[in-house]
């Protein structure tokens, strides 16, 4: 009797203690989501008040599926995630290996490497914009001098070349972050494993493939998850560098939604786009985390 009462009291106390947290989450996370979902079922065009705000069911979603600009934006986002994350992983791994080998001044090296990550994205993107600017930038000037590009060439005017400054700027800024994550992973690998491998006659490449890579996998997966989710929401780099142009050929999903919601003030349609992207990200993240959890588990039992 006493025991059950105590448990009941305790769980009541627990409920009372967590209720502020639940209330805050409901207020700041769940309420806006429900609101967005509700908005997405309406025609709500702030610039066209004469149309009213009728309930339109799934019309906005149907329109989104037929919207070539939306599909393009999804495609651009996917391409950007692939290109930037793989480049950052490759470079980050090289940096991490170099840093873990350094014998002197390790703290200093880490600070220096982190500097570019500490620069606000908008500032970094602006600097890169100046460097790639068609007429006056140092990158086109150097390439012109080397004969690599024709005289009138401008990166921001070519639908494919416009991606180069974007990916370069993003990699410049985010590679240090990846490198630090991987460095932490490298440091957790037992040095004795390398000694044993060396004793068995394994060369550096064999050591890297048989020891470093498998044991680094958890850190790699975490880095991929962080960077992929981050890259999926890319906005500021592209907003500053190309504004989504030329035409809309570098417009990512976040920029398109920003334009729809905040420039055109189409709340209903913009909300539908947001919901679609939210669901997509949610499913991807869920699948990835399950994958990640399983692989971590395998590590442990192995």
């Amino acid at each position: 009797m006493m025991g059950r009462l105590a448990v009941k009291q305790e769980s009541r106390a627990a409920l009372a203690l967590v209720s502020p947290a639940i209330a805050v989450i409901a207020l700041v996370a769940i309420a806006p989501m429900v609101w967005t979902l509700w908005e997405s079922l309406h025609l709500h065009d702030l610039r066209m008040p004469w149309l009213g705000q009728p309930f339109v069911g799934l019309d906005n979603y149907a329109a989104a599926l037929g919207d070539a600009r939306f599909r393009g934006a999804l495609l651009h986002t996917g391409g950007f995630v692939l290109a930037s994350v793989s480049l950052e992983l490759a470079l980050g791994l090289v940096f991490a290996l170099a840093m873990s080998r350094a014998r002197r001044g390790r703290a200093l090296i880490r600070v220096v490497v982190l500097l570019s990550w500490a620069v606000p994205t908008v500032v970094a993107a602006l600097v890169w914009r100046f460097m790639f600017e068609g007429d006056s930038g140092i990158v086109p000037a150097a390439l012109r001098a080397a004969g690599a590009i024709p005289p009138g060439f401008s990166f921001f005017v070519d639908p494919l070349a416009a991606w180069i400054p974007i990916v370069v700027a993003d990699a410049w800024k985010m590679t240090p972050f990846v490198a630090l994550l991987l460095l932490a992973g490298l440091e957790s690998i037992e040095p004795a494993l390398y000694d044993a491998a060396r004793m068995d006659g394994a060369g550096p490449w064999r050591q890297f493939r048989e020891i470093t890579l498998p044991l680094l996998r958890p850190a790699l997966l975490v880095a991929i998850l962080f960077r992929a989710l981050d890259a999926f929401r890319v906005f500021d780099v592209i907003y500053v560098l190309t504004g989504g142009g030329p035409g809309t050929s570098t417009e990512p999903i976040a920029l398109y939604i920003f334009n729809t919601l905040l420039q055109h003030l189409r709340f209903g349609y913009g909300s539908a786009l947001s919901v679609i992207v939210f669901l997509g990200t949610f499913v991807l993240a869920l699948a990835y985390i399950r994958l990640l959890g399983r692989s971590l588990l395998e590590e442990r039992t192995a």
Partner: protein, 417 residues
């Protein structure tokens, strides 16, 4: 009703004070401030300036949020010429006909741009027109046709240091639409016809856009980099002496004559060229209007302020200090004091303004414009052929008019030109 976190939804404090909202930077702000102070002293009504962002897009967004929240403030608003139909259709502006405004002395096109469904919603404050700046030391005369322009550009580019024949605003923004409109008029095309139907996919349009594209990629007289340029980048190119010709607004004139300009005293201004027999020299009509908030608590005082600010005396002061063109043709007469203030002979300026074409008057102008911006930019960056780009633009514009209940022209007021 939607309340934005950045805004208060409460009605505002002192009902005795009039709120004026518009651009408030630099010398322009000084003129506005001193004129408001003068009116305030004469009238005995306090006026407060509510500064808004200098970027047109951001100001527009802020206005929409205020007015949509049914705020009685600001009482008097500075509107871009293309916003009037949008705000009028939304019911956010006070029709001004009740005050019996005297419209006889304004350019007809600038008054037309302030009408929606027959009613008047704003008074023109100053006008902007696109003009062709050309170097008098490189060209014998201003080109009258596009062929002459291309020939003159190629010729001028043989001079040392002149890298560009012609520069214009080619970035994907409203400026590109005004540049296109001027080429379009020169080739005899239009965006909407008198009934409000989309005709931007006409043969004349295709020719105009093809000329613009080829000027970059075939003739090489316009730099590809111009496809990322706004007004200021083109002015820098012209001011450094790197360009033989430039399409820009009147504001550039005073800056080009300044001490640090490489072309001071070596350039002149003319109307844009046109194809003989097909089109006519066309300037896009821009500029600002003054309108009264439909929910203003003191509409009579607000109107009095609009009337004061758009009176000849105040317009002349603006023109002299900031070089903005007055919307009243009579002020360009000799002896009114505009000689030397505009950097262009007042008579020539008046001719360009009188021939200026308004952009389509429709509440969905900004959306139509964005469709066009994207398609024009795609064609100019060779992602699409001009014809296909204009056909896509026309289809998307028609779908938008359909979706918003504005198709068929019933509610669309015809526009001049």
């Amino acid at each position: 009703m939607l309340c934005f976190p950045t805004l208060s939804c409460r009605g505002s404090g002192d009902p005795g004070r009039l709120i004026f909202s518009g651009s408030a930077v630099g010398r322009e702000a000084e003129v506005v401030r001193s004129q408001l102070a003068r009116w305030s002293a004469e009238r005995g009504v306090e006026v407060e300036i509510r500064a808004t962002p200098d970027s047109a897009d951001q100001r527009h967004q802020l206005y929409v949020q205020w007015l949509n929240a049914r705020s009685p403030e600001p009482d008097v608003l500075q509107l871009d010429v293309v916003w009037t139909p949008e705000f009028a259709a939304a019911g956010w502006l006070l029709p001004l006909d009740r005050f019996g405004p005297d419209l006889a002395d304004f350019f007809p096109a600038s008054i037309e741009a302030n009408r929606w469904n027959g009613a008047l919603y704003g008074l023109p404050w100053f006008v902007d027109v696109g003009m062709l700046y050309w170097r008098t030391d490189l060209l014998a005369r201003a080109p009258a046709t596009f062929d002459e322009l291309a020939a003159a550009a190629r010729d001028a580019m043989r001079s040392p240091g002149v890298r560009f024949g012609l520069v214009w605003q080619g970035a994907r923004y409203e400026g590109l639409v005004t540049v296109f409109l001027e080429h379009l008029g020169g080739f005899g095309g239009r965006i909407l016809d008198d009934n409000g139907a989309v005709v931007v996919d006409s043969e004349a349009s295709v020719r105009a856009l093809t000329w613009m594209r080829d000027a970059i990629h075939v003739d090489g007289i316009v730099p590809a980099a111009a496809l990322t340029w706004h007004e200021e980048e083109t002015r820098f190119a012209f001011q450094n002496g790197a360009a033989a010709m430039m399409r820009n607004w009147p504001y550039a004139h005073a800056l080009l004559e300044s001490a640090d300009s490489a072309v001071a005293g070596r350039f002149a201004v003319a109307a844009m060229p046109a194809v003989r027999g097909a089109g006519e020299p066309t300037a896009a009509l821009g500029g600002s209007q003054l309108a009264v908030n439909a929910r203003s608590r003191r509409p009579d005082e607000a109107w009095a302020l609009v009337e004061f600010l758009t009176a000849p005396e105040q317009m002349l002061e603006r023109a002299r200090v900031v070089g903005q063109l007055p919307p009243r043709p009579a002020l360009y007469e000799q002896g009114e004091g505009l000689e030397g203030a505009l950097g262009i002979a007042p008579e020539a300026a008046r001719e360009i303004v009188a021939a200026a074409k308004p952009r389509p008057a429709t509440p969905v102008y900004t959306q139509l414009s964005e469709i066009l911006q994207i398609r024009l930019h795609r064609a100019l960056t060779r992602q699409q052929e001009p014809r296909a780009a204009l056909e896509d633009a026309a289809r998307e514009m028609r779908a938008l008019l359909e979706r918003t209940g504005l198709a068929g022209g019933g509610r669309l007021r015809s526009h001049a030109g």
